[in-house]
Amino acid sequence: MYAFDYHRPATLKEALSLVAKQEDAKIVAGGHTLIPTMKQRLAAPGHLIDLGRIPDLVGIERTPRAVTIGAMTTHGAVAESADVKEAIPALSELAALIGDPAVRHRGTIGGSVANNDPSADYPAACLALGATIITSKRRIPAEEYFRGLFETALEDGEIVTGVSFPIPHKAAYEKFRNPASRYALVGVFVAKRPSDIRVAVTGAGSNGVFRWAEAEEALAKRFSAKSLDGLKAPADDLIGDLHADAEYRAHLIGVMARRAVQAATER
């Protein structure tokens, strides 16, 4: 790891001014993507701005219609939150499947959505539930926020402060984990929302998280795992790598989607 200067702002305002002032500054949240990347010298920021001591960025707030999670809330805290378990159990289950217990004690939801790894779990929940990404500048609907591999709508110096999830009627997440990395080989989040049904797929798209339109249409007619019988995700734009080729991922999408719908109907 190359040397850097370390800053620990106590407020969001201070963090924003530090990020604006230093050209090669990078934010560190849980550090569970950034520190490994810096160790490999794939990132070499001159200044590290630690969001770890800004109390306003931590916490979970539940209203009748939404659950809003502060950017610095850890995966472990989301997994264990009684409010999340009750309002959106699928989200609590998703958080509990990220990495391992030690990773969940450090990694944050803000870091996960800022990073937008194509195999990360939260992007699927954001897209399926129709979440809003709240930043230091604006509120961005999930559909406009995730832009491709590790690409988001965030501008330079913009900080994610939270994510707001509308409460669905029913939802479930099914993840086929890569047994070595614990990331999703394929993960499918299904949400039956007051206005529509959404199916979001992570781990598979060569442009990152995406919605599976054919499955959504089929489920709109009848919300049952049977509605997806015979439906196969197109393998064209899927990732193929040493862990799984595109055909296999396409197959898994169908399997995970059916399981997720089944789990949601049983809720």
């Binding site: 850097f4 370390y6 560190v28 490994p36 391992d100 217990p101 030690a102 004690h105 450090r106």
Partner: protein
Amino acid sequence: MSSVSLTVNGKAVTAEIEPRTLLVQFLREHLRLTGTHVGCDTSQCGACVVHLDGEAVKACTVLAVQADGRQVTTIEGLAAGGDLHPMQAAFREHHGLQCGYCTPGMIMTAVDLVRRKGHALDETTIRHELEGNLCRCTGYHNIVKAIAAGATAMGQAPARQAAE
């Protein structure tokens, strides 16, 4: 250089360090607490697990400066004088180790698991919770047994736990 002050195994520690110093490096090289191991250095193996404010974390993936003002417990901080912690004793009793390289991380993870999930732990839970800890020797079987027994023993020694 940055100044850090933290509590390690109950003792206050202050040092001037480079910000890029990892917590595990700080513990091993500055404080000479070499019980915390580095197995992979890529956040996978869990040999480096310590408790940060009571929660299990991978010390190879935390900067020492991020632990400023916090409480760190390492494997060296578990035993009370000459008495092994009940989880350590259970690993010995149930042959939960062979070479011992993964053991400090396994034990720190196990103690954190008991904090979160209580004293009656079934095999499925233990195996699931050990996903972030790799062992090249044992095949995990005796580790799982040791953790179940250690968890029960921790429940029977309330005074010891309170002292931790």
